[in-house]
């Protein structure tokens, strides 16, 4: 598995020239964002649909080889850039399941929801206004790889509303 991830990172770097570094943005780090991949990919693919189309094909292969936070985030970025917010949401959620402490993943999920249906737009704003509470709640889960659903997030958002 680790070898697969190494190969994916290498291939990604050779294709895009973007360093495949993906550090956790912990709340206490007080950083706006630690990931730079999403922004760099945006600038590269904004005017270059060919590159995006290649990445869309590649990510399916990469996901079949590896299910780490990094690969799921990459999938989230690629689908987001392609305006496929359903899939972007799916993969950012998986990234959060693997690392619920990473603030960048939460914001990326929120923005995927922001471009979805009305109910999910509401959840997006709940996450953006209460990002610290979401991180604390879901980082404290006993089973770190327990799956997280939109329904769970929505239920927790209602708890946040009661506290406000």
């Amino acid at each position: 598995m680790k070898n697969n991830l190494l190969e994916i990172r290498k291939e990604f770097y050779l294709m895009t020239g973007i360093m495949p570094i993906h550090a956790t943005n912990y709340l206490e780090n007080k950083a706006i964002r630690k990931d730079m991949i999403f922004e760099r990919l945006a600038e590269q693919t904004f005017d270059n649909h060919k590159m995006l189309n290649v990445l869309i094909k590649k990510i399916k292969i990469w996901l079949s080889l590896d299910q780490s936070e990094f690969t799921n985030c990459l999938a989230g970025y690629i689908y987001y850039l392609n305006e496929d917010f359903e899939n972007a949401k799916r993969y950012f959620l998986r990234a959060i399941e693997r690392n619920p402490s990473n603030l960048d993943n939460w914001f990326d999920l929120a923005f995927s929801l922001y471009h979805s249906e009305e109910r999910e737009q509401k959840l997006a704003k709940d996450i953006l206004f209460n990002f610290d509470l979401f991180i604390k709640r879901f980082s404290n889960q006993k089973d770190k790889h327990k799956s997280i659903s939109i329904v769970q997030l929505t239920k927790f958002a209602m708890v946040c509303h009661c506290k406000m």
Partner: protein, 322 residues
Amino acid sequence: MDKLLFSNYKPESFCREFVEIKGNSMQLAMYMSLVLGFKPLMDDWIPVKKLAEFRKACHKYKIYMREDVVFDHRKKNEIKSNVLGKDCLTTTCAQGLPFKEGAGGFLHIFLSKDKNILKKGVWYPLVIKNRVIFQPRIDNLKYGYVLGYPDCCVKFFSKFNNWKKYSFLYEAYKNTRNKPSFLCNPFLKATSFSYIFHMPCSYSCKNTISLVNNLRKEIKKKEPYFVALTDSYLKSVFLVFYEDKSYCFDGDLKDDLLRYRTAYYTFPGKTKDIYGKNLKKADSLKLESRKLILYHRNKVNEIIDVPMNSTAPEFPFLIKFS
């Protein structure tokens, strides 16, 4: 030109409700453009207490509305120094608050005639819990397309919208090959009299001219006086230093000499009116590279060296729109 330029304008009937409800006529031409089907999406800020009336007006014009969040607008120096990301804030500075019916403040909304396009509305950088939350870069890059701006202008903007390195407006000026058209004039967007709200790639951009021409024809059928006023204001001479730092003249430019009666700073309420007092004392001017030469009764009154600035570089230029 007169002080009407900075007053609110109420149309005879078309889109009048929006002006009455908002209490101002900012973006009036954008509302008209949206209703007439030219503009796919726009956004605005509505007092929360006026929301019910505004919804009715939208219903009348068959516009869908998406409620975003409440903005508590601030000046940059009012934002606490320990707010993460404060230094990256540019023109919009606000604390974000969740929307609650009956509460105060200004609600940010998106408007469209197509419900699906509302999903493409983009988040503005807002201060929430002591940090600025920024939208994904791709949203920023694509927003121009979503708002209906011409492709060439969106691409040009993405290339030159780096305020630390470029003066975007000057880059557009350098890119202007033909006579500057009033249909491409973006300098009055802080008033009620502007057909465009995007930064054109040049002041003679064919795509902008075509888009605005069609829009203007349709607006003229419904509000001819508004079009007459807007045309007259846009067909003026402007002295441009930087974004939010330009002047409009009631005068005429001939052989590089601008003779004028009055000069107006085009962004009322903003703080970059640095040369207003100097211009008031003069009645004509010339711009020679970075030297602004002010005359009074044909005698040199003052020579101003316009500083370059290490960031946000200024390249002043005079431009006449016709």
